[in-house]
């Protein structure tokens, strides 16, 4: 279990209220939050200051959450930052989260098609349960 104290978390969500909620949870566990409203802004923020972990919403206008994820994992410097997906119904996001994280065949197909050999560390479903979110972050924080 990683020590959460003072860790920097990037929260990517198009909805300010969701960011507000998650940063309140993180604050209660002495973590620091920076936020971005879409994929483009998220990439900019990562370049400004490398976060310890990223919490990413998949349903966003502009660049999709998955688009940002793929960009991140293509970049040598940032590809090791753990990413936790936070999302509502996975079917509507157009991404099969379970397959993405647990299905080996899917990963191999994805690698073949996109050249990206990476998957998110985990996903937490909306509505976000604070205890579950913290427990998940703890598993992946360096």
């Amino acid at each position: 279990m990683g020590n959460l104290n003072g860790k920097l978390v990037l929260v990517v969500d198009d909805e300010p209220e969701n960011i507000d909620y998650i940063s309140a949870i993180l604050d209660d566990h002495h973590m620091k939050t920076m936020s971005a409203n879409d994929g483009k802004e998220a990439l900019k923020k990562v370049k400004e200051k490398t976060p310890d972990i990223i919490l990413l919403d998949l349903m966003m206008p502009e660049q999709s959450g998955m688009g940002f994820f793929n960009e991140l994992k293509k970049n040598e410097q940032y590809k090791n930052i753990p990413v936790i997906i936070i999302s509502g119904a996975s079917k509507v996001t157009g991404v099969d989260m379970k397959a993405l994280i647990y299905d080996k065949e899917f990963s191999e197909r994805k690698k073949k098609i996109t050249g990206i050999d990476a998957k998110p560390e985990a996903y937490v479903e909306k509505p976000v349960d604070p205890a579950r979110l913290i427990e998940t972050i703890q598993r992946f924080i360096p």
Partner: protein, 405 residues
């Protein structure tokens, strides 16, 4: 007793005519239950018989679907195993069977007679067959005015049955497709709804968490912020329910006399705060020539509100300008609203899906119901809605409605 030739010819001719009429009727579009009733009734009437029944094949059984005659109410529920009794044997062999002396050992499924009180004197059973597939059997029972069924009866009913079988198979296919589409639609609705509800619940939980934390930290500003979040989530639930109800039933608009320019003005006034927060200017142009109209005022207000609210969202923090215009169409029989923005525009592929339920490009904020509802209300009025858009330049939604006079 021999019939004379002219009588026989006359009868054949009228039977051929029946067959022609029946073929036409079968091939008109009807749903399955209606079609089956028609087939069994016609089959019995064709041969001047007392009763008839139709059984459809389901894997290794035949199920009585419809019956014609006095006892039809009682015979419907039976199931016959394939190969059992006359119907069961015909369904296996594919060969028509006539029994003119029904008694012990005739193969007639006595159970059914015993249960219904119907006494089968004679019986003609033909397969309902399409190519090699036997979809069921048709039975005609108790020929009136004669001792039993003859060769001609068999060939007449066989001719009819082969047409009927094709029609049944087609109706079954249609029914299965409708069923599948219905299930798919339910699935889509449930997925879309659960997504909306998860997002709203997230906001509710978020509000609750922030209020709690605010109290713990003695931070009244946070308490207020969390409380606002909770309240807006409640409003979203209310809107979602209203949208779902509007979409779920075909309702009659509640027409009342009103001024469309006033509706536009009210919308602009109500949306003012949201527009200012996004740095968007809302401009109104009203053509007073329209005068008073008869529409569902609340419904049209909701449509216009949806369109203007979308237009503001589309401006996405650029120097946004949203125009609301009301204008007369034709010679005063219709009028229109036009909502134009200089926002980001709608991609061609998204434009096609604009009015689909649960389609949204707004991320977790959108329910994907606003434009479906708008479309549905406008259709109820016998009006139309059109979208013109260019990516990077903006979009225009044009609504045209009858004045209702």
């Amino acid at each position: 007793m021999e019939k004379d030739d002219s009588q026989r010819w006359g009868q054949q001719l009228s039977q051929r005519n029946i067959l022609l009429r029946v073929t036409k009727a079968i091939n008109s579009n009807r749903d399955l239950p209606d079609l089956l009733n028609f087939i069994v009734k016609t089959g019995a009437e064709m041969l001047d018989a007392e009763a008839g029944s139709l059984l459809l094949r389901e894997e290794d059984i035949l199920r009585f679907e419809v019956a014609y005659g006095e006892k039809r109410g009682e015979v419907k529920k039976f199931i016959v195993p394939l190969g059992s009794g006359i119907a069961g044997s015909v369904a296996v062999s594919g060969r028509s069977t006539v029994v003119n002396e029904a008694g012990e050992g005739s193969g007639i499924f006595k159970d059914i007679d015993n249960k219904t009180g119907f006494i089968t004197r004679n019986l003609l059973c033909v397969p309902l067959q399409v190519d090699e597939r036997i979809v069921g059997v048709l039975e005609v029972l108790n020929r009136r005015n004669r001792d039993g069924f003859d060769e001609e009866d068999v060939s007449l009913v066989e001719g009819f049955a082969s047409q009927a079988a094709v029609a049944i198979e087609r109706a079954q296919l249609v029914e299965r497709r409708i069923q599948a589409e219905r299930l798919e639609a339910i699935g889509r609705t449930v997925a879309g709804l659960s997504h909306c509800i998860k997002n709203i619940t997230n906001a509710l939980k978020g509000g609750e968490y922030i209020v709690d934390k605010g109290f713990r930290d003695g931070n009244m500003e946070a308490v207020l912020r969390g409380w606002r979040m909770t309240k807006s989530a409640c409003e979203r639930i209310q809107d979602l329910v209203l949208d779902m109800l509007t979409l779920s039933k075909k309702r009659e608009p509640e027409y009342e006399e009103c001024d469309p320019c006033l509706i536009a003005a009210e919308v602009a006034q109500l949306i003012e705060t949201k527009a200012r927060g996004r740095n968007v200017r809302v401009l109104i142009t009203s053509d007073k020539e329209i005068g008073m109209v008869r529409v569902d005022r609340k419904g049209i207000f909701r449509c216009l509100m949806n369109l203007v609210s979308n237009a503001i969202d589309a401006c996405n923090d650029r120097e946004g300008i949203v125009r609301i215009e009301t204008f007369p169409v034709g010679e005063g029989r219709s009028f229109g609203f036009r909502v134009t923005d200089n926002g980001e525009g709608i991609k061609e592929e998204n434009r096609k899906k604009l009015f689909h339920e649960f389609f949204s490009t707004k991320g977790s904020k959108g329910t994907g119901l606003g434009l479906s509802v708008t479309h549905s209300i406008i259709s109820e009025h016998g009006g139309s809605i059109r979208c013109d858009s260019e990516v990077g330049k903006g979009s225009t939604f044009t609504v045209e409605l009858p004045t209702g006079w």
